[in-house]
Structures are given as structure tokens and as C-alpha cells.
């Protein structure tokens, strides 16, 4: 059917339009501080795409966002808003770090999976609180997850600074005290980079690039979640509950059970968000551990239309923007927060555009079927 392709095309067009619109609005912001938007965008592209290592950095940037976007999207698919990915990944990362530095002497093929599993477990545990409160007490997950984000910041701070502070570290030269961080993880807990593997294909990456196996793992995760949603009974239930919990309940599906299982899954995926940074870049957890991946994930999921493939693509887009932002700050002295603004505007424009477009598609579909059944003389009343 021709119309079907047309509708699919419209659905793909929506994010593209949103990106263009956001670029235009950000241009206005850039103009307002007296810089040239064209130059900014040119720099973003040039800085990001001109070199191979730059592309690898983009993919490295995208890695946590893939997991974060997927985690958020599982919530959205159920009709729940997991703003708590932020806290869940911090707790997850801490659990992973703990399993990393506390256990010693394991071979890498046991230790590394264990560390990853602990990350997922940590995220899952932290997501249990809001979903339990929602299912049992009716507390809206948005406020509870936001509160838990703040609580997790303090908790992590306490755990790193007070409980698991690495007191064995040598004094850093020039600093009077030690760094506020956990002990370092042994090599058996660290994620290898992709350098060796890519080397087999003649691609040589410099050492300052940290692209690692979490990136392909993210792709695999995206595929698994796609399969789960579209090809398994549980995925079917997630989508049903997300679109109409009451009809699902009437059909014999227990929404509470789906919420519980789905949210824990979301939390488990969220628990992996920080691991690419932890296990390949830092090797320990400190107070400067990257934040805001959880919020970025919301934008990633929305731009990706909660579709796993879309999420991978939009995560790469954000990885690209992040890389470009470093470029515009160092080269043009334009604040890199420009892309945060860009991101916010993108969220708004994507939801507005998809809303308008969905209404339009709905009208198209209705038209189609009314014509088919016009002998039934029923009104769209």
C-alpha cells in the first residue's frame, strides 16, 4: 500500500525536522552572543568528522547514551517516565566499582562479567524503590525518581568520601591531600578497548581514544530490547500496558506486574550506563564521575522515538554533538552548553512535531478505513 510507505516516511521525517528546527533555534542563541552560527556548525562538523579518532571518540561518547536511552525508552513503552536513570546508573557504577576493587584474584572472564552484572544489579535495586512505591502506594514515579536522584548523589558522595575512600593512594604532587576516590580496579575488572579488534581490519586508533567493547555491547542490547518488545509475550505486554493499562488488565494482564518487571529491567539497563566510563576510562569512581547521562537519555529516547535502532542513531548524534561542543568551546570560545540548549529544544520540537504528525497520520488512516467501510454508514462520531 502506497499510503503505508507514506506514513512510515512521515514517521522517519519527524526527528529530522526536529533536528533542523532545533538547529535554527540554537542559531538564534549563537547569534545573540555575537557569534556566527554557520561557523559554529562548520566547526562542529569539521572538528568531529575530519579524523578517524574523532569518529571513534563520537562512538565512545555515544556508548553510555545508548544504554541510557534504552533504559528510558523501556519506561516510556510502559507509559512510565523513568527520570531516575540518573541515580540508577550512579548506583550501578558504584556497585560495579565495588565488585571490581573488593574482589581480587579472579580471572578476567569471570571478574569482568561479574562486575557488569553487579552494575546491572545496582541499577535494578535503585529502580526497585520508585516502582515499589508506585505499585504499592501510588506514588508517581516522576517525583520519586527525581528525589532518588538527589539522594543517590549524596549517597555516592558519602560512600566514596567516607566509606570506600582509597587511603592507600600516594599523595599527588602539589596537592596536600589524597584524591577523593575509590581504590583502583584491577585489570581483570576492566573492559578492553576495541583497538586490537579494529587493528585486525587495519584501523589503527591512538591510545587517547577509549572506544571499548561496551559499544558493540550497546548495539547488542539495542537488538535484544527490540526483540523483547516486538517478538516476545512480555514485550507485547509492556506495549499493551503502556498504551492502555485498563484494556490490558481486562485482557488478563496484570499491569502492576508488568510495571514492576519492566521497570527493574529499565533499571538494570540503566545500571550499565556508567560502566563504559568506569571500566575503560577511569578505572575507579570519584566525585567527578560523569553526571547527566540519565537526562541525556531522555532526549536520546525521544529523538529515537523509543525505537531501539532510532536510539542507537540518536545516541550517536548526541555523541557527535558532544564532540563538536568541545570543538566550539576551544576553537570559537562559544560555550559548550550551547548543545544543552540544543538538546532541550530538540526534546520539545520532537514531541511537538510527532504529536502534530501523529494527529495527521491518524486522520489519514481514518479516512482510509471510512472509505473501505462506507457501506456501513458509520460516522467518526
Amino acid at each position: 500500500m502506497k499510503k503505508r510507505y507514506y506514513i512510515v516516511m512521515l514517521r522517519i521525517l519527524a526527528p529530522v525536522l526536529a533536528i533542523v528546527l532545533s538547529a535554527l533555534i540554537s542559531s538564534a542563541v549563537i547569534l545573540a552572543i555575537g557569534k556566527s552560527p554557520l561557523q559554529v556548525f562548520y566547526t562542529i562538523f569539521k572538528f568531529s568528522l575530519s579524523r578517524l579518532d574523532s569518529i571513534a571518540i563520537i562512538l565512545y561518547n555515544a556508548t553510555p547514551l545508548i544504554f541510557s536511552g534504552l533504559a528510558v525508552s523501556i519506561g516510556f513503552r510502559m507509559g512510565l517516565f523513568n527520570i531516575g536513570v540518573e541515580g540508577q546508573y550512579l548506583i550501578g557504577a558504584f556497585f560495579a566499582a565495588l565488585a571490581g576493587f573488593a574482589i581480587k584474584g579472579l580471572p578476567v572472564f569471570v571478574h569482568l562479567p561479574l562486575v557488569i552484572l553487579c552494575g546491572a544489579l545496582g541499577g535494578m535495586l535503585w529502580s526497585f524503590i520508585p516502582i515499589y512505591l508506585k505499585v504499592k502506594r501510588g506514588v508517581h514515579e516522576v517525583i520519586s525518581t527525581i528525589m532518588l536522584n538527589y539522594i543517590s548523589y549524596s549517597l555516592i558522595h558519602y560512600l566514596i568520601a567516607d566509606v570506600f575512600l582509597d587511603r592507600s593512594q600516594k599523595l599527588v604532587e602539589g596537592l596536600g591531600g589524597i584524591l577523593t576516590r575509590t581504590p583502583k580496579l584491577p585489570p581483570s575488572a576492566l573492559m578492553p578497548k576495541l583497538h586490537v579488534f579494529l587493528g585486525l581490519f587495519g584501523i589503527q586508533l591512538p591510545r587517547h581514544v577509549y572506544l571499548n567493547w561496551f559499544f558493540p555491547l550497546g548495539l547488542l542490547m539495542a537488538y535484544l530490547i527490540y526483540y523483547l518488545l516486538m517478538h516476545t509475550p512480555f514485550g507485547f505486554e509492556i506495549r499493551s500496558v503502556g498504551q492502555n493499562p485498563e484494556a490490558a488488565r481486562t485482557a488478563g494482564i496484570k499491569p502492576e506486574r508488568v510495571y514492576m518487571a519492566g521497570f527493574l529491567l529499565s533499571g538494570a539497563v540503566a545500571g550499565l550506563v556508567g560502566l563504559s566510563d568506569l571500566l575503560s576510562y577511569f578505572g575507579y569512581m570519584d566525585l567527578d564521575f560523569p553526571r547527566n547521562y540519565g537526562f541525556d537519555g531522555i532526549a536520546v529516547a525521544l529523538i529515537g522515538q523509543n525505537n531501539p535502532l532510532g536510539i542507537v542513531l540518536s545516541a550517536i548524534l548526541f555523541g557527535f554533538l558532544k564532540r563538536g561542543a568541545e570543538g566550539i568551546q576551544t576553537q570559537l570560545n562559544v560555550p559548550m552548553d550551547t548543545i544543552v540548549i540544543l538538546q532541550a529544544v530538540m526534546i520539545m520540537s520532537i514531541v511537538v512535531i510527532t504529536k502534530v504528525m501523529n494527529d495527521y497520520i491518524k486522520r489519514l488512516e481514518r479516512k482510509e478505513s471510512v472509505i473501505c467501510s462506507s457501506q456501513n454508514s458509520s460516522l467518526p462520531a
Binding site: T232, A247, T250, S369, C372, S374, P380
Partner: protein, 508 residues
Amino acid sequence: MERAVVLKGITKRFPGIVANDGIDLEVKKGEIHAIVGENGAGKSTLMKILAGIYQPDEGEIYIFGKRERITSPGRAIELKIGMVHQHFMLVDRFTVLENIILGAEKRAGITIDEKNSRKMIEELLSLYNFSLDLDARVEEISVGQAQRVEILKVLYRGADILVLDEPTAVLAPQEVKELFVNLRRLKEEGKTIIFISHKLDEVLEIADRITVLRRGRVVGTVMPSEVTKEELARMMVGKPVFMKLEKASVPTGEVLLSVKDLVVKESTGKTVVNGVSFEIRGGEIYGIAGIEGNGQKELAEAILGLRQISSGQVTICGRNAGNLSVREIRDLGVAFIPEDRHRQGLILPMKVWENMVLGFHRKKEFLKGRSLNLKAIRKFAEKKSEEFLVMLSSIEQSIEGLSGGNQQKVILGRELSREPEVIIASQPTRGLDVGAAEFVHKELLKKREEGKAILLISADLEEVLSLSDRVGVIYNGRITAEFKPEEVTLEDIGVYMLGGEVKAGEGA
């Protein structure tokens, strides 16, 4: 005689359909003018145009002789047109008084002048001989009272033309009588009333003139004294209709559904089903008649396991279903056709084939290992769509694009094709056109012949009486009487629907 409303050539198109097609209509001042037609004939569209909710694509509107454009509900009010909607437009948490004055408040500075508002409403009440407690919250009053609030709302705004959209649909026969008394009183005071209905008896009783619509066109305007009910029906449908359904006599089998002393409470502690008992045997349709909101919905939901049972017993096919989950109860062989298909029956944004297996997606034939067997599901959906005559362009279409009748057929296809022993059909033909309603009736009768037990809950008395083998009347959460349909008249049932005395030896 002055003309209150004149419509000339009103045309309104929706995507793919012409809802109103060149409608001409004249309503005299001070008459009760009925507009009849079956679902989808364009009555509601026409009235929404009068109320300023829709704009006509073509045509002219004259109100008291002046050409007007009714661009908004506000404009309609200025023109003294008052709409009494079928679904009440009331704010449940506001008082009756607040609901009446909302949007046309008497002011004292920036505050509401409650004293004057109250005085004016009380004057209206005594003029038209209505009784209402102005300080009750709307959520606490009865349906008949709520309708009076709606009428007062438009009178308070000084409406001279009252448009009532299916006002009797939610009322019991006695409340209808009361409404008619009120309407005649309004007419005496010089108000013009446009009365929309598809209930022919009522129209013949109350109207001065009747205009019949069919497929968006005016078929004709007649005086009630000049036509019979059958003639009106023929004008409406365009072909002779048979009011009676063919019902084969079926030997009854074992008791498949038994409800005993069932009590269901709201989370607020309010008792909504209060000791209901009945038994349904295979090959039997048990109808539950009653005004909506008397516990029907809760009764159906309790049997299906959607609601907690406070006390009493539900036995399905010999098994106690009291503590079972919805899925377990469905697995016992219970099919459910919910009263609100958009809320409970379907997942609108999802595809037709997905809706076809909703709830049955974990059945063996739809699985391949631990994954869904999409091929088998699609094949099943194709087959059922054909079998149940669902008009669609593709099973890949999202179900919200289908008409109400076709959506209901998808539900039937899903619920009835798993050989259920017990079928709970709640308002199964609500909002459907005649063709689709007939289809639903035939399917239910077919299941009856196959020896299934059917619980039919409907606010449409004619439907209940023509399909059921036995009828229970529900009032205030109790079955107050039980009849065989051939033993009773509408009036008899009406007494019980309004809480008349319990027939000795029967009911709760």
C-alpha cells in the same frame, strides 16, 4: 407562527463521509420538534452545528429570522440556544449551584455574587416547578437530577431554544415521564425545544412535529398524529424492519455461571453490588436491565475478577472463581465484551492483529519457543477478520482507524473464537449502527444455540427483552425482580428500575 430556527442546505463533511448533506429544517417557536434517525444518521452532527461546536461547510442558519453564524458555543449562548448534552457536561466536584452559574456568573467586583445567583435560580426552579438541592455536589445526585441541572444551566443563560440530545437514553421510564412534564411546562412558557432521539414511542408521545434523518439527509417532516411507529421506523431505516429477533428454542444445560449473594465494595467503602444472586445455564441468555450506575459495571467486573469480591460466591463451570485472577477466570472459559470498548476492550494505537490476540498472546498456538509466533498470529487475525466481516484495509492498520462497529467485531472475533463457556456482554451494541448491532445480536444468539451461558447487561430495554430468556432488574446494587421477558411490559420493568417494591419470593 414565528420560526425559531431555519436551516437551509446545511452540509458537513468529515474525512471520507458526508455527515450532513444539504439539510433543510424549520422549527417553529414554542414547539417541541423531534429529530429522529438511527445512529450515524447525522443528528448529533446537526445539533453540534447548532450549538457552535462544529461549523457547517455549506448552508445557512437563521435564528428567529436573522441569518447567523454560530462560530462557538459562546455564540450559541448569545443567540439563546441552549444545548443539553447526552453525556452530561457537569463538573462532578462542583455544587449544583456552581455548575449552573459557571461561565455566566453574576459578579460582585471580581468575586461571585452567590446571593443573587441563588435568588435567580430559585426563581427559575419555582417557575418551571423543578426541584433541586443547589448545594449538593453533582457527584452525589441522581441521573435524572443531573439532567435537570443541565436544563437549568441553559435556562439560567436565558435560552429560548433548548436542544436536547438523546435526553431519555439514560433515564428510566418514570424519569422520562417526569422529563416530559418538565418539557411541556417549558413549552407553555414559550420555549422552543428540539428533541433528538431514536426512540420512536417517546417521540410520538412528546413531539409536535417530527423530522426524520437518514444518512445525513432529511427524509421528511411529519406530525405524530399522521404516522404510526412502523411508518416512522421505515422512514428512518429505509426498509421495513423486523422489531422481533428470531429466537430458536434451545434446551438448557448445566449451570455454567452462578453468582450467590455477591457483594462488591468501592475502595471508599461504598457498597456497589449488594447481595446479587442468579444462575445461568448453558443455552440461556440472562439479561440485566437497569439504569446505568446501579452496579452493572461493577457486577460484570467482579465476575471477571477485575474487582475484589467482598463477600458471596462466583462459580464458573463448577469452579469457585472468587479468588482467581482475571487470567485464571478467562482460562476457565469466560469471554468479556466490555461496555467501553475504547477503554477496556481495545488498545487503540496498536494494530488490528495485535488487538485480535490481546490476552491470548500466551496461548500455545501463538508461541514459538518463548517468543511470539507472529506468522501464526497474523494468520489467525486474517482469518477472524474475514469470519467476523471486519472491514479493514489491512490487519497492519491501527485499530483506532476502524469504525465502532468494526472495532466491536474485532472484540467479538477475539473473545468468541476461543470456545468460551460463559460470555459476559456489557452494553454490546452501544453506539453501533443498526447493521453492526444486528450482527452482534446474531452472534450472541448463535452462542446461545451452541449451549453457552450468556450474561447480557444492557441499558437498552428493548435489547434486553428481545434477546434474554430471563431478565433481572438491578437497582442500587440489588436484583430487585426477575421476569421472563414475555411476562412483562416496559412499564412494569420501569417500576423496578426506579427501586419499586421487591416482588415477593424473587430477587435478593
